[in-house]
């Protein structure tokens, strides 16, 4: 039972990270290889503030998210006005830089040995509540002018500008929301595992999140959620050869790319209306 709860908790935390990537990559079409670095920022900043400086947890979490915001600005400001490729390259460099900082400030962060002895304050229920809030915000974002404009600019940036959409600001705003959200996931993460090390935040994690979003269907939020549960949750339960897990992932993704490029859900969402329509289709088929 405890094992199941812990797997679900990790899946929930990963899901918040995936939601950030969904906003940046799924909705806006930007590729960030540095999302895991925001997870690291959230985890380390909150843990150090709480443990070493005695900040109360909510304040530590808030500061961690603000630092995530500032880091997002640092990366986002110079890159949003350039071709999209730059944001992937710069975020890649950013991720590596953050890991290097963590490794080289051993007296604060514990360096490569990691930071341990953080008390466990995150519970499954807290994670569940956070996931619900975050999903709600992302759904609301997607179904607002922001979400529509993101999809428009992902599709055709030049036409989006001609519709009066401030493409650069919108990209930045979306990227910043994702940064803050992922930093928050980092807070949840460190106060659950009680231990973090820099190696856990490499670009492969960011890439894995992107792959999850993609497998679910590029702009389907439902797809992203289902894929997160399938791809992070199930392997934990099944425990099959963990070394092969990532390779199998990749092969699945390549197969999907070649044979069903829109992902599992394509652009569809499961909503009440969608279910009702399915049901009705069944009726009319009689």
């Amino acid at each position: 039972m405890e094992y199941i709860a812990s797997t679900l908790t990790f899946t929930g935390i990963a899901l918040i990270g995936v939601l950030g990537v969904y906003m940046v990559t799924g909705l806006t079409g930007l590729f960030s290889f540095g999302q895991a670095a925001f997870l690291a920022i959230g985890a380390y900043v909150s843990a150090v503030l709480f443990k070493n400086l005695g900040f109360p947890l909510p304040l530590a979490a808030l500061v961690a998210m603000l630092v995530g915001l500032a880091a997002g600005l640092l990366v986002g400001l110079p890159t949003v006005r350039l071709r999209r490729d730059y944001i992937s390259l710069v975020t890649f460099g950013f991720g590596e830089a953050i890991i290097a900082v963590l490794n080289n400030t051993a007296n604060i962060t514990g360096g490569a040995m990691g930071l341990s002895g953080v008390p466990q304050r995150t519970s499954f229920l807290l994670v569940l509540a956070s996931v619900i809030v975050c999903v709600a915000i992302v759904v609301s974002y997607k179904n607002s002018k922001y979400g529509r404009q993101c999809l428009a600019l992902r599709n055709d940036e030049l036409a989006a500008k001609s519709m009066g959409i401030n493409v650069e600001r919108l990209k930045l705003v979306t990227f910043l929301i994702a940064s803050v959200m992922t930093s928050f996931a980092g807070v949840l993460y460190v106060f659950y595992t009680t231990y973090v090390e820099p190696g856990a935040f490499g670009w492969v994690i960011s890439a894995e999140w992107m792959i999850i979003v993609f497998v679910g269907g590029v702009n389907s939020l439902t797809g992203a959620v289902v894929a997160t549960v399938l791809l992070t949750g199930l392997p934990e339960f099944l425990r099959f050869a963990s070394e092969w897990r990532i390779a199998i992932y990749c092969i699945i993704v390549l197969l999907i790319l070649n044979f069903r490029p829109s992902g599992i859900f394509g652009e569809h969402e499961i909503s009440l209306r969608f279910l009702r329509r399915l049901f009705r289709k069944g009726d009319s088929a009689e």
């Binding site: 607002s144 002018k145 001609s162």
Partner: protein, 259 residues
């Protein structure tokens, strides 16, 4: 009174002068046409007016306000809207959403409204939706709201481009070959549609078009471009009789000319 005033527009691409010192004015609530052979720089004029490319020289004024050097989206919001020659609809969005994106920049709710699901967001969203439905109705796309733009027949895609441009609330609407790829009866309908919306809204229209009947019938004034330079300008009747124009553009064929 002129609403759009363009002075000395110039642009070179790698030494080739695409547009060379082109000045023109568009009067308030007027329709003008720009014609010229392929490669004369017509679409470039639109790209310059809307800020896709920076100008090498020249100035653009809209209702007396200078737009030169403003970013693309700001120019659109200042009142210059356009359609694209090679249709550029947003494929990830449905027909209604395509129009809504163009109306969205005027929708005044913010991120807090999004995060807290405020009634204000709901109200504004409904307003934008109704507004956009109305634009679809004006161009005759009622009932297609939920369709994918790429699944529409070509003629309807052109109409959707038009509805989307209308939703940006333009002062000047730039139509880039709106009749390209349409059959004769569709061209007829387009001419009527342009006339209708022009009558309905307070804006000016600039049309680039290869199908001369469209330009001749709609415009009160025509500018002829050749190799980036203004070759002639005048009323449709004057243009048809202009010797240089008939040679450069219309060819050698005999045209009936009363002047």
């Amino acid at each position: 009174m002129s609403s759009l005033e363009v002075k000395g527009l110039s642009k070179a691409f790698g030494g080739v002068k695409a547009i060379d010192d082109f000045s023109f004015e568009v009067d308030d609530h007027n329709i003008v046409g720009i014609i010229g052979p392929n490669g004369a720089g017509k679409t470039t004029v639109f790209n310059l007016l809307t800020g896709v490319y920076p100008l090498d020289a020249g100035q653009v004024f809209l209702d007396g306000k200078e737009l030169t050097g403003m970013p693309q989206h700001a120019i659109t919001r200042a009142g210059i809207a356009r359609t694209f020659q090679n249709i550029r609809l947003f494929r990830g969005l449905n027909v209604l959403q395509n129009v809504m994106t163009a109306a969205d920049p005027y929708s005044d709710y913010n991120l807090l409204d999004v995060c807290f699901f405020t009634p204000r967001k709901r109200r504004r969203e409904r307003a934008v939706r109704d507004l956009s439905r109305n634009y679809l109705k004006i161009v005759g796309l009622e009932g297609y709201e939920k369709e994918r733009p790429e699944s529409l027949p070509y003629g309807l895609q052109r109409k959707l481009e038009l509805a989307r441009a209308l939703a940006t609330k333009p002062r000047v609407l730039l139509l880039d070959e709106p009749a390209a790829g349409l059959n004769p009866s569709e061209v007829r309908a387009l001419i009527d549609l342009v006339r209708t919306i022009h009558g309905q809204f307070q804006f000016s229209i600039i049309i680039i078009e290869h199908r001369l009947e469209v330009v001749m019938e709609l415009s009160s004034k025509i500018f002829v471009l050749n190799f980036g330079k203004l070759l002639a300008s005048g009323t449709p009747a004057e243009i048809v009789c202009h010797k240089a124009v008939t040679e450069a553009y219309l060819g050698e064929e005999e045209t009936e000319c009363s002047a």
